[in-house]
Symmetry: C2
Subunit: 639 residues, 2 copies
């Protein structure tokens, strides 16, 4: 029975809760007890008798041998096996043991158990934690297995540990164990991690790294629970926050261990015939945490289904015409147009003092007018400030011009608004503008060629005229983003690793604060101006978090529309309630491991050719990556 | 309002019916009249004023020009545009005209109209029929457009004509026009055909070719309807059959033209306030045809959704172990096991005369016993014939052996059935068998390596022993299969064109009767026997059907289990109600056009290496294709 219905969360994988069980050769009873009676959604159960060792089987290799599995495939319906059982691979296996018999037995058993799980169409199997610090043979064997799997997922069990002690004390940062294992398995998307949550937690920074990894399960031992005033199990505030984070990232909770809380006896009238599962109070507490999650806003509920971590190619509005439905979506972003209206109002007041408001007419040009939202915002600013306005609406898309014409007719703007069906770069204006208004910004600011378009349009701006926006800046920050990396990798070509994507970032760990990259200011009448840029950046990981893997860079923009009116998506200064832009993601062909004591040095270039503009990027330290997108061979924006 | 709910058909695209309309600049009224009042699902409507010619526009190139479209995008909601309007490109365009002005005007208009349709997110546009016999420039321009489309489909309008007259009379076979056009556009999957159904129809053979093409719509002129006794429109029997075929292939009907039937006046009491659409009686007749379709059997209803024309890689049961769910599906095919039971029963009776039934025990070995269905069928045959039986169940999959053990225990077969957990090729049997029973056949008979497995197993068959099956033969026939070809092509590599697929053939035109390819007989104790094969085949297209494009070959098998008991999927002799095998499809890298007067010469090879078996195939006439799958480089079955 899933953890509950909760404002959008009921669609998340995290609503299922499992329980780790002992070996049983009576799987139907195991299910009946833990699922029907206990209320858990699935059992994490051993598939084979734990006393089994291939080398000890008598008459080894005999034709009458039968695997010591927990029961025939027919004891459950196929759908029960796949919904209610996650296979637990024998904990005794040690594929990196010095003992050759143990090592061979381990490999044989691992392969037999995975084959049995595949036979049953299980959804996942839990692999035991590597025994020592080396896991090369274990990873090789798992990698062999992964090549043959189609639907079965493997979860590597790893304790959630990060101590500051030195390495001689054994495992100090379990993330490094996970990182080695998954690098040896080449980031296989069927391999993910199940974290054993202990009573002591590492630092916040350290925990944050896991949000960019593919964590499928958080296994919480009953020992890690505290006891509340009424004797019931509960979790510390820090544990609660961690579990909420896992829920939000589609990881499931598994309860493990023996009951360690002496619960108040149920009243006599209730005990009769009621067989209560010994771990029920732990499950109830997990369900309580799930149900206490903030409901998702309506916008996010759609995103959970469709947009989170979904890679999209950026728009190319200069080369391609937008479609009606795209215009419609963007026009609904009222926050954005309110900011524009505020900026135009301030510019109008600066331009025309109150005493001249009735005589001076300001000439405002909307370049890239689309279906008219900036025309409307500008006219509302004029009305609000009581300024006289003459508007030119310049638009290159002939299909949007049809709508503009209808809009002008419908609103009775014929005397005020002139529609120009033309590319702003080629229009011969009959007069010059006081204010030039545009919305040509992409997720990375200049990536939809706002600089080139406005450079072309400023020839019909008066020398003292105003551009709205007056400047914009791009930002990047390094991220761990396993899912995005794997989605890029799935294309199996270089081009997709050299393309930035527009994406609603979610399963991402932000490893350092963002830093500014390129800035453009308008108008810019300098004869030396050009739009090529180069920036070198240094990022330092916080010292208390441990190492992390950088899969690429999250990109944002912030824009000054006019004076103190800004608009942007850089996380620390983002305009609230605006949905027109998702961040951008620049991937790395080979992820780079970064330590807190060695900074990450990154280079970004904006390159301009006669017919296209593109970015190149690379990392030079701690490990150099190849240059990405040389000559714009994989990604470019057409002029 | 869709044509109706009908036993599974309500899931088909063919349930929507359109109407071709005149140009209107009041699209909301056009929809209200034809959809709300008329009952049609969509209109096939001109998007731009038919009097528009770009070269005649005054002030050409002016910045104040507005496209003469049928209305602003805002007159309908986005969902209305896309659900209820199919764009009709101006009929006057002629991109292969000798008149350069007309040619340039045509290209400009075509591109503007497609851009407008894209702006509106329409699902499809109808391209007018090419004016002359040449369509190269038209196809070039459409091909340019196709490169930029993502969701919009283009339907090329073509009359359904095939006369026996000579070419000097003009168009004799409209399929050739379509074939040229789509070959010039490289089989783009966004380009399909809309057929104008005339009052006279070509031969059945000729019509059959279209069932392998991507026909999206059948446009029926009111002129093509007959009049029934009560004065209502109806269609000839041949037209009815054709339309049923289109419904079955997800093509939609569009009614076109002016009403030509004088319907009996409605009674006075009914006319008041009822505005009846003039084409309503035609729509009602089309709906009647739709509702009269045979309901789909339950099995087919699932197939319509999931399996029809869906390419699957063939199983490799020798290399891979089947999963429990796969066993379960195949075990449910009772027809197959009834045939096996009949074959075993006949063999037992032949082997042991009635008078010795109580003393002689027949040794029967099931090689590849899986989870036991052939063991059960054999024991039932023994019971039915009163023969004594000893069974060895040989199975290499250790996971299925678990189930077999449980089955034997549950059924109390311990004294009769011995389970051997071993690959039949390597088992050292302690005694020899009278009867060897196996089910190792693939869709193409020998393609899952039954010959190699049984050759290995026959060493423990008595010299006079019986193999069930005793022989099997593969068959192929040439097919037009646009959808399958495009699905193979979508992978953009050679390997997928050199792989046979298991597929429930549906949108396929079978161009000639199937012919046998390879036969294998068991047991085969000849020392010269080997399993390599080569076969050259000649197929002749029927003389009354016109040319056709061969995209590849449909493959089948038929098997003699024992004497007169057979099992197979070759269409003319297929065992009814059996679902274990879909046909196989061998694609061609380059489709071959075949004329009725020049036969198709095809070569098939079965090649054997030390660790794999594979097919190679090619066409040598009328046009040679490259050899497919040389050395098994793209597809092979592992030993």
């Amino acid at each position: 029975m899933p953890l509950g219905e909760r404002g959008g969360w009921e669609r998340s994988e995290s609503r299922y809760c499992g329980v780790e069980t002992d070996f049983s050769d009576d799987v139907p009873s195991l299910l009946s007890f833990n699922i029907s009676t206990g209320g858990f959604d699935y059992v994490l159960a051993l598939l084979m008798n734990p006393s089994y060792r291939p080398s000890l089987v008598e008459g080894k290799g005999s034709e009458t041998q039968v695997l010591p599995v927990s029961g025939s495939d027919l004891v459950l319906a196929p759908s029960q096996w796949s919904s209610h059982v996650v296979g637990k691979i024998s904990s005794w296996i040690d594929l990196d043991s010095e003992d050759e018999v143990l090592r061979m037995d381990s490999e044989t058993t691992l392969k037999q158990e995975i084959a049995w799980a595949t036979h049953l169409s299980l959804q996942a199997c839990l692999l035991p934690t590597p025994k020592g610090t080396s896991c090369a043979n274990y990873a090789r064997c798992v990698n062999q297995i992964l090549q043959g799997l189609t639907t079965l997922q493997l979860w590597l069990r790893v304790p959630l540990v990060k101590s500051d002690g030195d390495a001689s004390e054994g495992l100090t940062d379990s993330w490094e164990l996970w990182n080695s294992f998954r690098l040896l398995c080449e980031h296989d998307s069927k391999l993910s991690v199940a974290l054993d949550v202990m009573s002591t937690l590492p630092s916040e920074t350290s925990l944050g790294r896991w949000m960019g990894e593919s964590v499928r399960a958080a296994i919480i031992s009953t020992d890690s629970f505290l006891t509340n005033a009424r004797g019931y199990p509960c979790l510390s505030k820090r544990h609660q926050k961690l579990i909420a984070g896992f829920f939000d990232h589609a990881a499931q909770v598994v309860v493990s261990g023996k009951p360690v809380h002496n619960l108040p006896k149920a009243s006599d009238s209730n005990t009769e015939g009621t067989q209560r599962h010994p771990l029920r109070s732990y499950l109830d507490y997990v369900a309580y945490l799930f149900q206490k999650m903030e409901p998702l806003p309506e916008q996010e509920r759609i995103e959970v289904l469709g947009y989170r971590d979904f890679l999209q190619a950026p728009l190319q509005p200069l080369m391609d015409n937008l479609e009606a439905q795209t215009y419609e979506t963007f026009e609904r972003d009222s926050t954005k147009y309110i900011q524009y209206q505020r900026a135009v109002a301030k510019a109008l007041v600066d331009r025309v003092p109150d005493e001249k408001a009735s005589e001076l007419t300001t000439v405002l040009m909307v370049v890239g007018a689309g279906r008219g939202p900036l025309v409307r915002a500008s006219l509302q600013a004029a009305e609000e400030t009581n300024r006289k306005l003459k508007v030119y609406a310049v638009e290159k898309n002939p299909n949007a011009v049809v709508t503009l014409h209808n809009l002008v007719k419908l609103e009775g703007w014929e005397g005020i608004v002139t529609i120009i069906s033309c590319d702003m770069r080629f229009w011969n204006a009959s007069e010059k503008a006081d204010i030039l208004v545009s919305e040509l910004l992409g997720s990375f600011g200049d990536n939809e060629l706002s600089p080139e378009c406005l450079d072309g349009a400023q020839r019909f701006l008066k020398p003292d005229g105003i551009s709205i926006p007056s400047s914009y800046t791009s930002f990047i920050q390094p991220v761990t983003a396993t899912k995005l990396y794997n989605d890029v990798k799935a294309h199996k070509d270089l081009a997709h690793f050299e393309t930035p994507y527009v994406v609603k970032l979610h399963s991402v760990a932000k490893l350092a604060p963002s830093q500014s990259v390129f800035t453009f200011t308008h108008p810019n009448f300098s004869t030396k101006a050009n739009n090529q840029r180069y920036k070198k950046l240094h990022f330092n990981l916080p010292s208390d978090g441990g190492s992390a893997l950088v899969h690429g860079f999250a990109g944002y923009f912030d824009s000054v529309l006019y004076k103190d009116v800004h608009l942007g998506i850089e996380p620390t200064t983002a305009t609230p309630n605006m949905f027109s832009w998702f961040p951008i993601f620049f991937p790395l062909r080979k992820p780079v491991e970064v330590h807190p004591d060695s900074p990450l040095e990154v280079h970004f270039w904006r390159c301009c050719g006669s017919s296209k503009v593109w970015y190149e990027w690379s990392v030079s330290s701690p490990t150099p990556t190849p240059m990405h997108n040389t000559n714009g061979r994989s990604y470019w924006v057409g002029l």
